[in-house]
């Protein structure tokens, strides 16, 4: 057995294809890692700029109602391996008691040139996707077919060795050869990553990279087995080579791009959208009614929502909605720097009113979220998930999905940020309640003491730990492994049955 493996290994190692594979892989991975690191550093700088900017903008606001807390999603360092949704989805979101933030309310901080998105973006997993599969097939196509033709297979089989052992030996040795360039190139790119000052990887990150490597090996093995299957089935090197290349082109290039066009589209969920939006509108109409009712029965009758405060500053209020995103909210902003003499007696009433309004708005926003969340889920997420399942019918799609999950750049990973943002909103609201911000004079005026933003809880987003990533990635990795097992069994059966 060991002799067989050694023989195969030497056979593979001394070939031109091995040298070419290693060289090309190193070249592509190292060159792209350089570019990707620069790109990541730029995005990180842009993120830091935005954080500082938002801090400053907040500090400048003298009333609580005018202040807008914004939180920013930092770029994921593992997006260098698989960029996933990291660049595509919104990276700044407004935290306000008026609305529960979601992915669809996020914006992009805009210092980058969005037109550059026209050019396809690139990551290390994409290189592996294309190149590893190609190499695996190139190593596999003549594994049996070549030996049939040269007659060495007959020679080997005259020895008292089981066919299973021959198959295993071939598989092991080729995989060893293929893993070498994969590991060397990954090692180099990790070394490059650690030299960059902007990127700090913790132990969890290394485990995640380990997960990516594991998935890559499984992916590699799938394509090697596909090649082996073709080689065992066709018995001629030229046919095997041709078929391998065709299947490679189909699986890597054609299928992922074509499948979504071919499958029938689900009906557009307009009815669902309208009904959900109507419910949301109702919530806010009730809110508005209660607000007006409060004003009418208030102990200070005859005033508008802002108590006709006249002074230096601005005020504004409106109900606004967006049926596409199912967004609806009541926005009232007051930003006064000073008042006239007549206004002072109104203050206690105004303060009480804003206290009432704050609690009502939070309640309405929370109720809106209960309707909005499942609706958004059904309109956007479920359709996209169905599309993803179609893509996973090919090993390429499985590999992409699994590595995204490991890197945390999949949809779930990005949505974790918005989950954290919602929790942060709750802590901001609690802080507001605890300090009686809604009832305070600083809610609408900065004349007697400005809004104090320093006590506000700080937002920090930690990516989920490795367990979560593993939980999300394991199903796809398992599917890849299962494909491996099935292919191996099929090849074994074919190989056993063949006459030499």
């Amino acid at each position: 057995m060991m002799t067989l493996i050694r023989r195969e290994l030497l056979d593979n190692l001394m070939t031109f294809r091995f040298a070419a594979a290693t060289f090309i892989m190193l070249l592509l991975v190292v060159a792209n890692t350089f570019v990707l690191i620069i790109d990541y550093e730029r995005r990180l700088a842009s993120h830091n700029d935005a954080v500082k900017m938002h801090q400053r903008q907040l500090q400048e606001k003298i009333t609580y109602s005018a202040g807008e807390v914004r939180v920013d999603r930092p770029p994921n360092p593992l997006s260098i391996f698989n960029v996933g949704f990291d660049k595509r989805l919104g990276n700044e979101v407004r935290i306000s008691h008026r609305v529960v933030p979601s992915l669809w309310d996020a914006g992009m901080h805009g210092s980058d040139n969005p037109f550059m998105d026209m050019f396809a973006s690139m990551d290390i997993v994409f290189i592996f996707e294309v190149i590893l599969s190609l190499f695996a097939l190139i190593f596999a196509y003549n594994a049996f077919a070549g030996e049939y033709e040269s007659g060495t297979l007959r020679l080997v089989l005259t020895h008292p060795i089981g066919r299973g052992k021959i198959l295993v030996a071939k598989y092991m040795s080729a995989m060893l050869c293929l893993i070498v360039p994969l590991l060397i190139s990954l090692l180099l790119s990790i070394i490059l990553l650690t030299t960059s000052t902007a990127i700090s990887l913790n132990s969890d990150d290394f485990l995640r990279i380990g997960g990516i490597i594991l998935t890559s090996v499984a992916y590699l093995s799938v394509f090697y087995l596909i090649g082996l299957l073709i080689s065992a089935a066709t018995r001629r090197t030229s046919t095997a080579l041709m078929l391998s290349m065709f299947i490679w082109g189909f699986l890597v290039l054609v299928y992922p791009n074509m499948i979504l066009t071919v499958v029938p589209r689900p009906e557009s969920p307009d009815a669902l959208r309208t009904s959900a939006f109507n419910q949301i509108e109702n919530i806010w109409e009730t809110f508005d009614k209660e607000r007006k009712h409060y004003l009418a029965t208030d102990d200070f009758p005859g005033e508008d929502w802002g108590y006709e405060l006249r002074g230096l500053g601005s005020r504004g209020a409106n109900l606004m909605g967006n049926s596409q995103r199912l967004l609806y909210t009541y926005r009232s902003v007051m930003n006064f720097e000073g008042f006239g003499e007549k206004d002072e007696p109104k203050m206690p009433h105004a303060q009480k009113h804003f206290g009432f309004l704050g609690a009502q708005t939070i309640d309405a926003a929370d109720r809106t979220w209960l309707i909005r969340k499942p609706a958004l889920e059904e309109i956007f997420i479920q359709r996209a998930d169905i599309e993803r399942i179609y893509l996973k019918l090919s090993p390429v799609g499985l590999y992409d999905a699994a590595t995204q999950a490991w890197a945390g750049t999949d949809l779930l990973g990005v949505r974790d940020f918005f989950h954290a943002a919602r929790q942060y909103r709750q802590s901001v609201i609690n802080y507001f309640y605890d300090n009686k911000v809604f009832e305070s004079r600083q809610w609408f005026a900065g004349d007697k003491g400005e809004a104090d933003w320093s006590g506000l809880p700080q937002f920090s987003f930690q990516r989920d730990d490795i367990n979560t990533n593993a939980k999300r990635a394991i199903p796809d990795v398992c599917l890849l492994l299962m494909i491996n097992v099935v292919l191996f069994i099929v090849i074994f059966l074919i190989f056993i049955k063949t006459e030499v």
């Binding site: 070419a20 620069i38 595509r88 040139n113 037109f115 050019f119 082109g249 791009n257 995103r325």
Partner: protein
């Protein structure tokens, strides 16, 4: 020579790869046609609705008075969808298809919310569509550019990798060269043979695609569109011959066909798949994006000097010539500044994109992509054309307003101010209308450089193949 070509074609026609190629190309082209037929009518409908709405707005403004037209301007501008959208999608999902006309800004109101200072309209160029709502998987479109750029080039290599090395392995090459045929004839024969045998399934697939598209009564192709399609077909052949030449070159130099295929595939992967995106990333890191702070400063430009300059007249309610003129100048200058800022930013961004395009031009796949986009009337070039068209129209409309005002003897000829402009309604028919046009000769000019480069690639590779083959020892 024709003998060799014929032999090659017959050889290929019977092979497995020919059958597989035909099936693959047909499947892709049919997918492409079906998708186009499903989506294009909707696109056209959306465009027409938008244009009608915008035209109605212009009519309403013109019906009001010349002043209203001068103040509110036309409706929004929409990019006309290209009938050849199926040839190249051209990043249409990222490029904006609208240029909005900004409502006149309100500078000041009095206590009763009455407007006292209101400017005039200006053009506002929207950013690229940031698709931060699209949570679906990211896949490229199956358009002609994809089919030709990726699939057809791969097929070309697939047909030629064993052209010489395979014959050498079988020994037929020696046999052939033993005859009194010059080597360049053999080479050209092989070249043409491979090119023809690829063209047959490709032409078939294209025919089926166009048949599907042209027989459907929802999509109309004009004579000009057919001309453009012809050009795109020729481009596809040119591009294919590039890869055929590459295949022959490598095949002549290398002894084994397996090694030849491997070298070819690695070259292909590097140039076609990786280079476009890697080079674009490098190009974008050349010119750093403006920092967030700067961006905000630019976006909220300090207009105080403008306020100071016209302070004297802005707050006076007098109706004398000087005051009105001062206000009018303030409004126009303000609108001009807004537009200029937008224009400069979009110019900066375009120059970034242009640089990236120039650098990625090393890859023939990108060259082809740009060429097809150019002739299909989609993509970035077309976007710039649309922007230019709108700018031209905006100038035209402003001139028209000035001219019409001059014809009214009652007007004071001070544009942008209610008291200074003609208040007569004007017939909507006389107002110039915006029409988004595509220009073939212009496309030719912009494409000439890229076309030349692509031809150069082909010639270099062909002569390389010739030199390699001439020196080959059989």
């Amino acid at each position: 020579m024709w003998h060799i070509t014929k032999r090659e074609i017959y050889d290929n026609l019977n092979s497995l790869r020919f059958a597989l190629t035909t099936v693959l190309l047909l499947a892709l082209m049919v997918t492409n046609a079906v998708k186009h037929l499903r989506e294009h009518p909707k696109r056209v409908q959306r465009y027409q609705d938008a244009v009608t709405e915008s035209s109605d707005r212009l009519t309403a403004h013109a019906d009001g008075s010349l002043y209203k037209l001068a103040q509110y301007g036309p409706g929004n501008f929409y990019k006309k969808p290209s009938p050849l959208h199926f040839c190249a999608n051209g990043g249409e999902s990222i490029l904006p298809d609208t240029i909005t006309v900004r409502e006149p800004p309100v500078f000041a109101t009095d206590a009763e919310n009455n407007v006292i200072l209101q400017g005039v309209w200006s053009l506002s160029y929207p950013d690229a569509n940031l698709q931060n709502k699209n949570v679906g998987p990211n896949v490229s479109q199956v358009d002609w550019a994809f089919i030709i750029g990726y699939i057809l080039s791969l097929i070309a290599l697939w047909f030629t990798f064993d052209a010489f090395s395979g014959e050498r392995e079988q020994g037929t090459l020696r046999l052939m060269l033993a005859n009194s045929i010059p080597r360049h004839t053999v080479l050209i024969g092989k070249f043409l043979g491979a090119l023809f045998s690829i063209s047959i399934p490709f032409a078939l697939a294209v025919l089926v695609n166009l048949l599907l598209i042209s027989t459907a009564n929802t999509v109309h192709l004009t004579a000009e569109a057919w001309g453009r399609l012809g050009i795109i077909f020729c481009l596809a052949l040119l591009y294919t011959s590039l890869f055929v030449a590459l295949g022959l070159l490598v095949s002549a130099r290398v002894q084994q066909s397996a090694v030849s295929l491997m070298i070819l595939l690695l070259t292909w992967v590097t140039f076609v798949v990786f280079m476009p995106s890697t080079l674009a990333s490098i190009a974008s890191s050349f010119s750093p994006a403006t920092s967030f702070d700067e961006f905000w400063k630019q976006r909220n430009p300090v207009k105080e000097d403008l306020w100071d300059k016209y302070d004297e007249w802005l707050w006076s309610s007098k109706l004398d010539d000087k005051t009105l003129r001062g206000k009018s100048e303030f409004y126009t200058e303000n609108a001009e500044r807004d537009e200029r800022w937008h224009e400069e930013r979009s110019k900066y961004r375009s120059s970034q994109v242009y640089r990236a395009r120039a650098i990625t031009g090393i890859s023939p796949a990108t060259l082809l992509q740009h060429l097809i986009e150019g002739f299909a009337g989609t993509g970035f070039e077309r976007h710039l054309q649309f922007v230019e068209n709108t700018q031209r129209y905006a100038r035209q409309l402003r001139e028209f307003v000035a001219d019409t005002d001059r014809a009214d003897p009652e007007s004071l000829h001070i544009l942008g101010v209610r008291e200074g402009t003609s208040k007569k309604p004007i017939s909507p028919e006389s107002v110039p209308r915006f029409e988004d046009t595509l220009n073939l000769s212009r496309d030719f000019n912009t494409a000439a450089m890229e076309l030349l480069l692509l031809t150069l690639f082909v010639l270099v590779l062909l002569s390389g193949a010739y030199l390699a083959f001439v020196r080959v020892e059989v």
